[in-house]
């Protein structure tokens, strides 16, 4: 066990994926984010330089190249950078990659990983703070990973690469410095579709993804101080979704807050809330509260940006409301 940052754990996971299978290639080198630490990302570049290609600023083109390469059996991980840049590549990500397997009834696979950093990063302003995972969840045929801890990012990047399906891999600039334990003595494998109960509790279920996982844990501490015992369930992957794990928790607590840093309407929290309202209704003892961005573009100034960012405080307030 070693304490390391999310960023370092991701670098380790990517290196392990490269070492494990020589058909893994990287397109783009910006996995480390805006302030990628050379000490963490340098070794990867040195060791696997011949499998890293730096493309021009042509997201649609190079994502298409990655899709085409995946159809032939390569396993590209594409670093698209900020989530909004994936909009440029939307036709390839949402309307080519996910159709290959279904469209050929299983003859052709497209094992590509689209890696992007989503969400409110601090002064990303109107166009660089977008979290597109809900849009991709509305696209059938894509797997989606939203790891919220160092161990999860390391394990899931390898699972994403091994998967034969196109996978959206979402991290968050503000997760990069997050520190957690990673066990390098094992592969640290994590299957897609298995939720992790990050904290057990009996009064309220907080379903949280990506950056909202640490915020939910922080909220749970605060709530504990108020006598509310919160369970934090982290689905870790949206597709496949571990619905059972979520419903199991809700069956025990009867109360739910869904926390996600996407826009509220048709967001990640909406889907999880709708699923619970459909399949776990009998367990519910209170309204399902969503903690999300309040349907507003992301403003530049910190005061406004903070105001619309879903935080531990919002989770606490929502949990208090449903436990009242």
């Amino acid at each position: 066990m070693r304490e390391m940052t999310y960023s370092e754990a991701m670098a380790i996971g990517i290196q392990e994926a490269l070492a494990e299978d020589e058909s893994v290639v990287l397109i783009g080198a910006g996995f480390g984010g805006l302030r990628g630490d050379p000490a963490v990302w340098g070794p990867l570049r040195e060791r696997f330089g011949d499998r890293i290609t730096s493309p021009p600023i042509a997201e649609l083109g190079y994502c298409g190249i990655a899709v085409g390469a995946a159809l032939t059996g390569l396993r590209p991980i594409v670093a698209i950078g900020t989530g909004a840049f994936s909009f440029e590549a939307f036709p390839q990500i949402a309307n080519e990659a996910p159709q290959a397997y279904y469209g050929t009834r299983g003859q052709v696979t497209c094992p590509v990983v689209f890696h992007m950093r989503a969400g409110i990063r601090g002064a990303g302003a109107l166009q660089h703070s977008i979290a597109p995972q809900a849009m991709y969840w509305n696209t059938p045929g894509l797997e989606i990973c939203v790891p919220g801890s160092p161990a999860d990012v390391r394990g899931l990047i390898k699972a994403a690469v091994r998967s034969n399906n196109p996978t959206i891999f979402i991290d968050h600039e503000r997760l990069h410095p997050l520190v957690g334990e990673v066990d390098e003595s094992t592969g640290g494998d994590i299957p897609l579709g298995v939720a992790d109960v990050k904290r057990e509790g009996s009064d309220v279920t907080i379903v949280a993804t990506s950056i909202m996982v640490p915020r939910a844990l922080e909220a749970a501490e605060t709530l504990a101080g108020q006598g509310i015992d919160a369970e934090v369930v982290d689905p870790r992957t949206l597709v496949p979704l571990d619905t059972e794990a979520i419903l199991r928790s809700v069956a025990r607590t009867g109360r739910v807050v869904v926390a996600d840093e996407t826009q509220k309407s048709c967001g990640v929290a909406s889907e999880i809330a709708a699923t619970i309202a459909e399949e776990g209704f009998e367990s519910l003892r209170a309204p399902i509260k969503r903690v999300a961005i309040p349907n507003v573009p992301i403003p530049y100034h910190q005061a406004e940006e903070d105001y619309i960012t879903p935080t531990a405080r919002h989770i606490v307030e929502a949990a208090e409301a449903v436990c009242r």
Binding site: Q107, V108, N164
Partner: protein
């Protein structure tokens, strides 16, 4: 623009493939117009463009990749696809290449190196560049050939892929079938398409340091010779290449629903275009790649009219059998719609 070397190829088998495409597409139009429920939306046929598909595919090896478009039926047959599974796919039968999942827009044939068929204008070129990129990364000498219409140059995706394939010297052959030019306009140096500003499509490729060629899309020999040279050079690392194949559109190919003007092609029209529907006569005389090849083979004494008519009769019969095969094939069951959404396990 460079010139290609000469290559020996089998014109008789090319003729057969071209006729097969023609006869299959006629069946497709007939199926679409005779039945309400077989091809419910619009669709696209390859009549009039056969020389480009067949000439180009003759140059490919078995391990090469080929990408196509919404106008894919003919490309897949040119690449060696069998008419039965092609028609079956077009009408959605389980014996189709994708077991009826893709339909007319998405005939895909993995065993032929046709891995994904995008019906999105501009969808195929980046993926084809990706297959070429993959060949490069894996150190094989595979080539990736992509067919696309002139409309693709209007989409930004093309330019992005053009840039990267040029920067990285990918073994990519971009075969643009320009069916937008009326011959008169072409002679007068007008815009090559109604909605593209370049005087010559090839200029766009040349500006990006991609070697560009123009070829007469009605002449299968010209296409075949050019491609044989370029495919070889692409294998040697001299790619990518851009080709504009100039096609005079078949008069039945107007609008979104093709029309078999005057009925299925008659070989009598080939020998004597004046006997055809007046709307077809000029096209048969100057531009129909099948008729041009037939007449030149006879003129050269390479084949007799009778021999050619036998080839056609065989192609017609194959197409008819393919139609029967498709029509008598089972439809997918409703519930099978939920199959194959995600791949299980690992293929490695």
């Amino acid at each position: 623009m460079a010139t290609a070397g000469t290559v020996v190829h089998n014109l008789k088998s090319a003729l057969h493939r071209m006729m097969l495409i023609r006869r299959v597409e006629e069946q497709v139009i007939d199926l679409a117009t005779s039945f309400d429920d077989l091809i419910r939306g619009h669709y696209h046929v390859y009549i009039g463009q056969e020389a480009t598909g067949v000439g180009a595919c003759m140059a490919l090896g078995p391990d090469d990749y080929m990408f196509t478009t919404h106008r894919n039926h003919g490309h897949v047959i040119a690449r060696g696809g069998e008419p039965g599974p092609v028609i079956a796919e077009i009408i959605g039968r389980t014996t189709g290449y994708n077991k009826g999942r893709g339909g007319t827009f998405h005939v895909i044939a993995k065993h032929l190196g046709v891995l994904q068929t995008s019906a999105i204008v501009g969808g195929g070129v980046p993926m084809a560049a990706g297959a070429a990129f993959s060949a490069r990364m894996r150190g094989t000498d595979q080539v990736s050939l992509v067919f696309f219409g002139d409309g693709v140059l209007e989409e930004g995706a093309f330019h992005e892929a053009l840039n990267m394939s040029s920067l990285w010297n990918l073994p990519l052959i971009m075969m643009c079938e320009n069916n937008s030019v009326p011959q008169e306009g072409r002679r007068q140096g007008e815009y090559p398409t109604s909605s593209f500003a370049a005087t010559q499509l090839a200029d766009v490729a040349s500006a990006m340091n991609v070697e560009a060629h123009v070829v007469d899309g009605s002449d299968v020999r010209q296409v075949g010779e050019l491609l044989a040279g370029l495919v070889g050079r692409a294998r040697e690392g001299e790619g990518p290449f851009f080709i504009e194949s100039r096609i005079n559109r078949w008069p039945g190919n107007r609008g979104q629903f093709p029309q078999l003007i005057g009925g299925p092609h008659r070989m009598a029209w080939t020998w004597n275009p004046g006997t055809a529907d007046t709307r077809l006569q000029d096209w048969l005389a100057d531009s129909d790649p099948v008729s041009l090849l037939c007449r030149s083979l006879v003129e050269e004494g390479a084949m007799t009219r009778k021999e050619i008519e036998e080839v056609d009769a065989a192609a017609r019969q194959e197409a008819e059998e393919a139609r029967e095969f498709a029509l008598s094939s089972p439809m997918p069951s409703p519930e099978s719609a939920m199959d194959y959404i995600f791949a299980e396990g690992e293929t490695r």
